[in-house]
């Protein structure tokens, strides 16, 4: 069956950022929300099939196929709930805030369509609390009284792991934003014991576009295993740090060029944010970027944060600061995470800022192996992935530190951004 499109949408970029901020502008770019096209039980299934066919992967970090998640939640035995996850706790990422500012109604349309697909009638839009974004979204929601869902804006504590899906569900259910042990996963038993679809806000915006323009259109950009377009936040030593909409499969060098190119010689690039991996240059210039973890070195776009490291900075010192931050952000519920991450941060700081003695180096490697896979959530795994990749990528620097020389880079101003301590919530309520 052929679906007649109300409006043609070019296959080129930008897609997500083509519309406007106000509801009227948004509608004039993308047309009405295509709910009627997916009416009834058969229509809901058709919408899920369309997303499956599009091959959309989640844009929150894990890159899980979105259609499969929709199908699972839709198949539950109770009426499901949808969580639109706009808590961008990743310090090097701004894309979700940017999208919710520049194109809020695309996200909200996507959430309504996702709710329709899974049979939910409630959507909870989660954002970090204490930002002007929350107030603005509250106002946008008042424009959408005709939506067939009940909206709720949830202001979540500013903590790194509070945006993890079990943490969001826990916060909504009990006011405590720490992750919970799994199983059950939110798609089995989430908000109020109901199957809960937790999708990143960019993922939802793509669902809105797929519903309007179809899987074939979506696949005109990107790669076979990671189709479509995606938002990336590029920062560090580039001329125009900003959020960009790119097509997966683009090479790292091209993506940096899109941000105006490097402002000084680079030694490495952090890809995927603080649960991501370092890619050393110049070898990494031609690395194709995607959300598919099967790529070289396990590098994925994750939540889309890309940070260019100048050759004059110290990758070990940069990583040590982030490791300390990640240790402080542990929810301190699981022993290996609560005790292991600070121990790893201490070892890495000793290696980076002082003389790297072989015993500390060995202990660090052993501790990395020891905490990986042993938390209730993936916080320790993400942190150790980053530290591990720093040890590999900056192996030559490690040798220098080993000889008793720390590099001059350790005294440079930090490149990897960290939230100001004053703006971090201490508690979890």
């Amino acid at each position: 069956m052929t679906i007649m499109l109300e409006r043609a949408m070019p296959a080129t970029l930008p897609r997500l950022l083509a519309g406007g901020r106000r509801l009227a502008e948004h509608r004039s770019t993308y047309g009405a929300m295509p709910l009627a096209r997916y009416a009834g039980e058969a229509g809901r299934q058709r919408l899920i099939d369309e997303v499956l066919g599009a091959g959309l992967r989640g844009r929150g970090g894990a890159g899980f196929p979105t259609g499969r998640k929709l199908a699972t939640v839709a198949g539950g035995d109770k009426r499901p709930v949808v969580i639109a996850n706009g808590c961008e706790s990743e310090p090097a990422s701004r894309k979700d805030r940017m999208l919710l500012t520049a194109a809020p109604h695309l996200v909200l349309d996507g959430a309504v369509l996702a709710a329709h697909a899974v049979g939910a009638d409630r959507v909870m839009l989660c954002v970090e609390r204490g930002s002007s974004l929350a107030d603005r979204l509250e106002r946008e929601l008042t424009q959408r009284r005709d939506d067939p869902v009940k909206w709720r804006l949830v202001r979540v504590p500013r903590r790194y792991v509070a945006s993890e899906e079990s943490a969001l569900v826990h916060y909504i259910n009990s006011g405590d934003a720490r992750p919970t042990a799994v199983p059950p996963r939110p798609f089995e038993r989430g908000v109020g014991g109901r199957p809960t679809l937790v999708d990143n806000v960019e993922t939802l915006a793509h669902i809105a576009l797929i519903a309007a323009y179809g899987a074939y259109w979506f696949r005109e950009l990107g790669t076979e295993s990671d189709p479509g377009s995606t938002l990336v936040t590029i920062s560090g030593a580039v001329a125009q740090p900003n959020v960009y909409e790119i097509a997966p499969g683009m090479r790292l060098g091209e993506v940096l060029d899109a941000a105006g190119g490097a402002t000084e010689p680079l030694s490495a690039v952090l890809v995927g944010g603080y649960f991501g991996t370092w890619v050393s240059l110049p070898d990494g210039w031609s690395l194709p970027l995607s959300h598919d973890r099967s790529g070289p070195g396990g590098t994925t776009l994750g939540a889309g944060a890309i940070v260019a490291l100048p050759a004059g900075a110290c990758g070990l010192a940069e990583t040590a600061r982030v490791a300390r931050y990640l240790a402080e952000e542990s929810a301190a519920q699981c022993g290996p995470c609560q005790f292991g991450l600070p121990a790893i941060a201490n070892d890495l700081a000793a290696v980076a800022f002082a003389r790297c003695d072989p015993a500390t180096r060995q202990r660090l490697t052993r501790r990395i192996g020891m905490v990986t896979g042993r938390g209730a959530c993936r916080h320790p795994d993400g942190a150790t992935r980053l530290v591990n990749s720093a040890l590999t990528t900056f192996a030559a620097d490690l040798e220098t530190h080993m000889d008793g020389w720390t590099c001059t880079g350790v005294s440079r101003d930090p490149i990897l951004p960290l939230p100001d301590k004053r703006h971090r919530d201490k508690g979890w309520k």
């Binding site: 919970t180 042990a181 799994v182 022993g335 290996p336 995470c337 042993r374 938390g375 209730a376």
Partner: protein, 75 residues
């Protein structure tokens, strides 16, 4: 992973308080890390260890330890 038959030991890392009685009852499958938390092999349990494993599960004061047909965090 979960398609493989067999029972597996599993620990809820949030409930576990490093009491370590499990390690005494099942040293074949449980070691302790440097902070006293159990490192548990999640390979399927051989039949001769199942009853020992069940005893360790029963002895855990916080009900953190389970014997289960499924593994956590699969997806």
């Amino acid at each position: 992973m979960s398609d493989e038959p067999g029972l597996r030991l599993q620990v809820d890392p949030i409930a576990c308080v490093a009491h370590a009685s499990c390690r005494e009852l099942l040293p074949e499958r449980i070691t302790l890390d440097e902070w006293g938390y159990p490192i548990i092999s999640t390979d399927p349990l051989p039949p001769d260890l199942v009853s020992h494993a069940r005893r360790a599960v029963a002895a855990c004061p916080t009900l953190a330890l389970r014997v289960d047909g499924k593994l956590a965090r699969q997806r």
